[in-house]
């Protein structure tokens, strides 16, 4: 369980000015048994039009591989300042990544979309493997991924 207190790189408009307007959200990503080394995952938010808003988490520490998270990389030009302080280890096949963040209330039910790009060494790139709108109603519902991610869910 990784807990972050408002340490988000989300654009300032989306960060609640005080914790009163934020709530802890738990993101759970379960990897499938894809038969490869640990996966790199970029978890980030876009608006309804697909414009990048900010990153929530980067699983995988070596920046030379970030270009394989191609949607995130295109949106950020690989700028590691976007993930400063919100980086952890890559996630092995069959493992689960759970992170708890204090997310601004304004992120929910406002058309924002959470994306997860995934990539594994010597295997295909899987940009936007998870694309799920952030809504209060969607909380707790599992979304399956396409290649590496068995399911993803967020809970408030």
């Amino acid at each position: 369980m990784k807990t972050l207190l408002a340490a988000l790189a989300l654009s300032t408009a989306l960060v609640a000015p005080g914790l009163a307007l934020a709530r802890p959200v738990t993101l759970t990503t379960t990897m499938s048994a894809y038969g490869g080394d640990g996966a790199y995952l970029a978890i980030y938010v876009t608006d309804a039009q697909g414009a990048y808003q900010g990153s929530l988490w980067m699983a995988g520490t070596k920046s030379k591989y970030y270009e394989h998270l191609s949607d995130w990389y295109r949106a950020t030009a690989g700028n590691t300042a976007e993930i400063n302080g919100i980086t952890g280890a890559s996630v092995g096949a069959g493992r689960e990544l759970t992170i708890t963040l204090d997310l601004a209330d304004a992120l929910f039910d406002a058309g924002y979309v959470l994306h997860i790009d995934a990539a594994v060494e010597d295997m295909r790139d899987s940009p936007s493997e998870i694309v799920v709108p952030l809504t209060s109603a969607g909380a707790g519902q599992a979304t399956p991924g396409r290649r590496y991610i068995a399911s993803f869910a967020y809970a408030m």
């Binding site: 038969g35 490869g36 080394d37 697909g50 520490t61 070596k62 920046s63 030379k64 270009e67 191609s70 990389y73 295109r74 949106a75 030009a77 690989g78 280890a89 010597d122 295997m123 295909r124 790139d125 940009p127 936007s128 396409r146 290649r147």
Partner: protein, 735 residues
């Protein structure tokens, strides 16, 4: 210093390096398998446009096409809600093999690069690669030092098997190990971001928003041959803002879905190309043959680790713990030891013990620690110096000569120098000679002339001990048993006597091989594994110092046979010649690997006189393969001391000896073996031209006469015994 730089990283990293090398060698096979399995690309100049069109015809849901350095093309698609992937035949666009890397390969790769410990493991393995690099470089320097210079690093080696094996394998594999360790370090640095990275893909440009242009209408795809392709990623379906992403050997960029035009591009930088080349050199992906060669070279590492540790243990065992050494300023006798492998320390310990018994106060130190101004009470300094290779200073004597040369004048304390070496090397006791010469030039008073000990001979050492004792007025009896192998009781089976008529009693003595208990056989101990030409050490009654006799038989013959002649006043030869069948003596084996026929079919010239016939007869007896062996043998009289006379005729008849030429010194002709050689000079010259190896056994005088005769015979060919010796084609066993 250099040796420490080789020894300690080697010992510490040995196990790690074995894991690295074995996993690397196993991994080297995969690129070759992949290269064999990859469908050949029949069409020269096939473009990415055509390839991608073919693949999309078969798999409309294709998302990504990659070309591996091996040439294998993999397509990834998403169809009917499931992802799929396959290695593609470029001629059809259809899948022909699994795209998944083998789990075995993945397991090996993770072991090889990180011991399954992620970043910690990567750092450990990188340290292993760094150790490999240091070992390769320090090992090469040691080899150059040992052989006498960089130009001679390929020279033939002498010495114990472990050492030779270590160096022979190193010479074969060092290039590969240097390459693999350097590229490994680069790759680790690159993984951790310590080397400059390429620019990466350009930023995503604005696109036309149109879709649907055929792949064949995209000029960049038409112009890119398949061999230059790295990756082609198709736009997400139904996303008009996306574009085709193309990566080639030249760079990477985006292609508009609506216009087909290149809308952004960055050229591959130098660092990307360097990275790619280094990856290929390390993994063999894209250079499968090189990979296999590197893999084979890596297989030498476990052997080198084993022999290296073995040599270290053996060297340590030889170096005794010195007891009772007194402080520098208190000693009346200073022993300075110049040892390479450690055996000279053993002699030093024996000398120290004998001097202590005689009531002297002895300080023992490596020659490196030479500090004459601190030897306040010393009355004598003794230098015991081995020689490394071609006359080079041994490890513990580094810098001694420089320090001596830098002294304003010679020390007043008188000096004795004893050199340890091997007469089969051209520069016998070369370093000790150098020390003695510089001491003389400096005007350093000498207690006695330079002494020498050949191949750790306890007799030589004991002889020098008596001379040294006489010089300092202390009777010294040095009983040194270098490696003190356990001796076994040998029972005489039979004896054949010769030479009585010429007042030179000589006998061929044949001993039974003692039965070896199982544990001795398992541990390789006891009397086993010897060959003709090895030495049988006999411990005479009443003496701890063994005498060495060349063996005329191998263990396969089932007996140990030696030739002994009575030496005036000789304790051991007298005891041996008094043995009757059934009597026993104690003895052990000392290998003498350099004195035996080399492998192959080249002719062998055997030259011997007197009891020197022993090992030569043994070589002939073992020559059941009928290799051309030519014997020249000198004796006194054919009726008296023609040792092995009956066998010689039989061996010649059945082809084990091609020719036998004898010379007799007590007949009317009065010929020595060297005279017979000169008489047959044309035949010998021809044999040498045919690649013959020369093996000489006998007394020192005879060997010198033979060498002189051969020098004359070989001169027209521009050869000398020394040149042949350097090539391993001339060996002497002299006593």
């Amino acid at each position: 210093m250099l040796r420490s730089l080789h020894r300690w990283p080697g010992l510490m990293a040995a196990l790690l390096l074995v894991v690295l090398a074995l996993s690397g060698a196993a991994l080297s096979v995969f690129p070759a398998i992949e290269a064999v399995q990859t469908p050949a690309q029949a069409e020269a100049g096939l473009s990415v446009a055509i390839l991608a069109t073919r693949i999309r015809t078969v798999h409309p849901g294709v998302e990504q096409i990659r070309r591996a350095p091996s040439g294998a093309i993999t397509a990834y698609w998403f169809e009917g809600g499931t992802p799929g992937a396959a290695v593609i035949d470029p001629a059809t666009g259809a899948g022909v093999g699994s795209a998944d890397a083998s789990p075995v390969e993945r397991w090996l790769k993770n072991l090889h690069r990180s011991l399954f410990l992620d970043d910690t493991g990567r750092i450990v393995m990188a340290a292993g690669a760094a150790a490999m690099l240091v070992l390769s470089l320090s090992g090469l320097s040691l080899l150059a030092r040992r052989t006498g210079g960089w130009r001679k690093v390929l020279a033939r080696l002498k010495g114990p098997l472990a050492g030779r094996l270590h160096v022979e394998i190193a010479r074969i594999s060092v290039t590969g190990l240097l390459l693999s360790s350097l590229t490994a370090l680069w790759m680790t640095a690159s993984t951790f971001g310590f080397v400059p990275q390429g620019a990466g893909p350009p930023s995503m440009p604005a696109v036309s928003g149109q879709t649907g242009v055929p792949l064949s209408d995209m000029p960049a795809l038409r112009d890119t041959p398949v061999w230059a392709l790295r990756d082609l990623t198709f736009p997400a379906p139904d996303d008009p803002t996306d574009a085709h992403a193309l990566k080639t050997a030249e760079g990477e960029g985006y292609l508009d879905q609506g216009t087909g035009q290149l809308v952004a591009w960055t050229d591959a930088g130098m660092w990307e190309k360097v990275d790619e080349t280094i990856y290929m050199l390390h993994t063999g992906r894209g250079a499968a043959a090189l990979g296999l060669i590197l893999g084979l070279m890596a297989l030498g590492v476990p052997v080198m680790a084993g022999t290296g540790v073995w040599m270290w243990v053996a060297g340590r065992r030889l170096r005794p713990r010195l007891r009772g050494t007194v402080a520098t300023g208190q000693a009346d006798t200073v022993l300075l030891v110049g040892s390479e492998g450690g055996s000279t320390w053993g002699f030093a310990a024996t000398l120290q013990a004998a001097l202590n018994t005689a009531g002297l106060r002895v300080h023992v130190a490596p020659m490196q620690a030479f500090a004459p101004d601190r030897y306040g009470r010393a009355k004598r300094i003794v230098v015991l110096a081995a020689t490394y290779g071609d006359g080079v200073a041994p490890a513990s004597a580094k810098g001694f000569l420089d320090r001596l040369a830098a002294l304003p004048g010679a020390p007043a304390i008188p000096l004795a120098v004893l050199g340890f070496g091997d007469r089969s090397f051209p520069a016998f006791c070369g370093y000790a000679h150098e020390v003695a010469m510089m001491a003389r030039d400096k005007g350093w008073p000498m207690l006695l002339p330079l002494g020498t000990v050949d191949r750790q001979s306890p007799q030589d050492f004991a002889r020098w001990g008596r001379d040294f004792g006489a010089a300092i007025g202390v009777p010294l009896e040095l009983n040194h048993q270098p490696s003190a192998p356990a001796s076994v009781a040998l029972t005489l089976i039979s004896r054949r006597d010769y030479g009585a008529k010429v007042q030179a009693p000589t006998a061929i003595l044949r001993f039974a091989l003692p039965r070896r208990p199982l544990w001795q056989r398992l541990t390789g101990r006891g009397l086993a594994g010897f060959a003709a030409g090895d030495l049988l050490a006999i411990l005479p009654e009443g003496s701890l110092i063994p005498r060495f006799y060349s063996l005329a038989s191998g263990h396969r013959d089932g007996f140990a046979e030696i030739c002994v002649s009575r030496l005036p006043g000789g304790l051991c030869s007298a005891q041996l010649l008094d043995l009757a069948p059934g009597d026993t003596v104690r003895g052990f084996i000392r290998t003498n690997r350099d004195f035996r026929p080399t492998r192959g079919r080249a002719p062998v010239i055997l030259i011997g006189a007197g009891t020197g016939i022993g090992p030569l007869a043994g070589f002939a007896r073992e020559n059941t393969a009928h290799r051309p062996m030519h014997l020249w043998f000198g004796a006194r009289h054919p009726d008296s001391d023609l040792l092995y006379g009956d066998e010689m005729a039989a061996w010649q008849a059945d082809g084990r000896l091609a020719t036998v030429t004898t010379a007799f010194s007590r007949t009317a002709k009065r010929a020595y073996v060297q005279d017979a050689l000169r008489h047959d000079s044309a035949r010998i010259a021809q044999l040498i031209k045919d690649g013959a190896q020369v093996l000489v056994c006998g007394g020192r005088g005879m060997a010198a006469g033979v060498a002189e005769a051969l020098t004359d015979i070989l001169a027209p060919q521009g050869l000398t015994p020394a040149i042949l010796k350097a090539k391993g084609r001339y060996a002497e066993d002299v006593y």
